[in-house]
């Protein structure tokens, strides 16, 4: 299964493709897609350069992101694990 993610163009915020073609800033909302619809969704995001930067697919299962990318993706989802932005988010 795959998850589609990108940064939002205007402010760089991390977003995930959610149910019903909606995009969410919450990782919890991310939909799991089979490879074919995932590729189609990616192509659709890529075709909207006015909304997204650098869309890509993440390998994931029901439990979460596949191990290799888990840390990076959890930091993208939850923000920095340390530092000033913790207090100020």
């Amino acid at each position: 299964m795959k998850i589609l993610t990108a940064n939002r163009l205007a402010d760089g915020a991390v977003v995930w493709l959610a149910l019903g073609g909606r995009w969410s800033t919450e990782f919890e909302d991310a939909v799991r897609l089979d490879p074919e619809p995932a590729a189609a969704a990616l192509a659709q995001a890529e075709a909207q350069p006015g909304r997204f930067v650098a869309p890509y697919l993440i390998e994931a299962d029901a439990a979460g992101v596949e191990r290799r990318e888990r840390l990076r993706e959890s930091i993208r989802a939850d923000g920095p694990t340390a530092g000033h932005s913790l207090e100020n988010v």
């Binding site: 006015g50 290799r68 920095p80 694990t81 340390a82 530092g83 000033h84 100020n88």
Partner: protein, 551 residues
């Protein structure tokens, strides 16, 4: 302090207008990311993990209160209330929205700052000794030469699309306090036998994947030939650098693959072919610029420092701070003060907007309106009268900026790592924080004395781990963070690249291992030896043992 002339102001204003239009066209979808990316990078805008990042150039690390307040204001209005000072003496904002960047650039231009050439394959911000103009061992103040290079390299048409980024450092003293030998080009101001001013020209330093210490290309180039030699060197690089392979594109690889002598022959040939007159450093311009950096109107030193001596006797925290954070000033009665941005458990190099404002106030009050960024990710007030030090120390304490650890083990240099950086393999900040807490005992820190600990979150080495006495490099093993330790690096005039000691450690094992290394040093050092001296005398083995010793 530099000043913009009419050209600077016009160029910066034109660039802002151009980039604002590019941002607008990107936002309405007329430009794709592929088209826009090189344009935003030319203006210091990166895309990191969570947001855009804006890197603002601080020319050779020099600020005044107005500039620092402008940075604080940007941090407050467009970011999350803080900024991150880097090992290239720049500042990075981690959270600006793309839509806000044109406004930020306008705010910066009002105080003669910009983000141009802070990214991309061009000549980057020139760096120098944080004690420039202050140090007693200096042949001459390097800052006017930095300023000349800044003017020469800004929008240089021939050197805007180099094979890879290009970093230049200038120092004015034999002691290298700017890691000059880790730069693509390094310059050391010297005088020849006749007393004429010139430079030792170094080339091919660099960190990253294949680290190199720069080699001496010319033992003396006359000062007026500076631009001609820079042009010749960059021209050879521009022509022969490996544009086909990003990992081999830095000048260090070209110098290493041609060999220093062959590279020198190429540069000399290019130099001979250059018309000298148009490239000669204009003397009147040098004098004009030197006036910007003239000595401050210092007061004569009093016969004794009443306030300073009193505080020294009565306040142990002040006494410790003076021992560790003061640097000698060639003007009697003055000292330079390192403001440590390394509080216990803090993020190396981060400063809040409030802290920046406080430092700006203190620079105005106590340091002739000058403040500098050091490549160790600290700030420095260059000219403080001895009797002002107790008051300054108290004021810094109120702002959480009186940490007395400059140059000590807890003065850790660290890149942002995987908490922010999209290129990272592992996190740096939590490792720095754990280490800083582990080494927080001031008695232990003072006993250990001078040691450099550097952390990078990937092989790009923004945290200078290759030249840390103790280097820590984050690596990714199948999704787990591990940290490789290197020993024996050094960034100064005895520069060396650290050697990897063995297999990587998990994050939580790093701080205890480093503490054991420092204890091993305390147990083995001879009188007067710094950590690096003992390491060089004994070799790495006893310290490797300490790292891998079962806890």
């Amino acid at each position: 302090m530099y000043r913009y002339d009419e050209f600077d102001s016009r160029l910066v204003a034109e660039r802002i207008e151009q980039f604002s239009d590019q941002v607008a066209r990107r936002l309405d979808g007329r430009l794709t990311e592929d088209q826009f990316k090189p344009l935003r990078l030319m203006n210091g805008v990166y895309l990191q993990l969570h947001a855009y990042m804006l890197r603002v150039a601080i020319p050779y690390g020099e600020l005044n209160a107005a500039r620092l307040r402008a940075l604080a204001d940007i941090a407050r209005r467009y970011d999350k209330g803080y900024g991150h000072f880097t090992t290239r003496t720049n500042i990075q904002f981690n959270w600006p929205a793309l839509v806000d960047v044109p406004h930020i650039l306008k705010d910066l231009a009002r105080v003669e700052m910009h983000a141009i050439q802070t990214s991309g394959n061009c000549i980057r911000n020139v760096t120098t000794d944080a004690l420039a103009g202050i140090a007693a061992d200096e042949v001459e103040d390097p800052r006017p030469w930095c300023e000349l290079i800044r003017q020469w390299s800004t929008f240089h048409p021939e050197f805007t699309f180099l094979p890879r980024k290009f970093k230049i450092a200038v120092i004015g003293a034999p002691k290298d306090r700017a890691a000059m030998r880790t730069h693509d080009i390094g310059l050391e101001i010297v005088r020849d036998d006749t007393g004429a001013l010139g430079f030792r020209l170094f080339v091919g330093g660099g960190q990253g994947r294949l680290p190199h210490i720069a080699s001496e290309l010319k033992s003396f180039i006359p000062a007026e030939e500076l631009f001609a030699w820079l042009t010749a060197t960059l021209r050879v690089y521009n022509r022969h650098g490996r544009r086909d392979n990003i990992h081999k594109a830095r000048i260090k690889i070209l110098v290493a693959s041609l060999g220093l002598d062959a590279f020198r022959a190429e540069v000399e040939e290019a130099f001979a072919a250059l018309p000298k007159a148009p490239l000669a450093v204009p003397e009147a311009e040098v004098e004009r610029i030197k006036a910007y950096f003239a000595p401050r109107p210092y007061a004569a030193a009093p016969p004794r420092f009443a306030a300073f001596d009193r505080a020294l006797m009565t306040d142990p925290a002040f006494a410790r701070w003076t021992r560790n954070n003061l640097r000698p000033h060639k003007q009697p009665g003055y000292a330079a003060v390192v403001i440590s941005l390394k509080p216990v458990g803090g993020v190396p190099g981060d400063a809040t907007a409030e802290q920046m404002d406080r430092v700006a106030d203190l620079a105005e009050r106590f340091s002739f309106d000058q403040v500098r960024v050091t490549y160790e990710q600290n700030l420095l007030l260059p000219h403080v009268a001895m009797d002002d030090l107790p008051e300054l120390h108290a004021a810094l304490g109120r702002a959480g900026l009186a940490e007395a650890n400059a140059g000590l083990a807890a003065d850790i240099i660290s890149c942002p790592g995987l908490d922010y950086c999209s290129l990272a393999n592992a996190r740096s900040i939590p490792v720095a924080q754990a280490l800083s807490e582990r080494l927080s005992d001031p008695v232990f820190q003072d006993a250990v004395g001078e040691v450099r600990i550097n952390i990078s979150g990937c092989i790009n080495a923004c945290g200078h781990h290759h030249v840390g006495h103790i280097g820590i490099l984050g690596v990714d093993k199948q999704g787990e963070e591990f940290y490789q330790i290197t020993l024996g690096g050094s960034p100064d005039e005895t520069a060396s690249i650290g050697q990897i000691v063995g297999k990587g450690l998990p994050g939580e094992a790093v701080a205890p291992a480093i503490e054991r290394v420092l204890k091993a040093y305390l147990a083995r050092r001879d009188a007067g030896e710094r950590f690096i001296d003992t390491l060089r005398r004994l070799g790495a083995d006893p310290f490797k043992e300490a790292i891998y010793e079962a806890a």
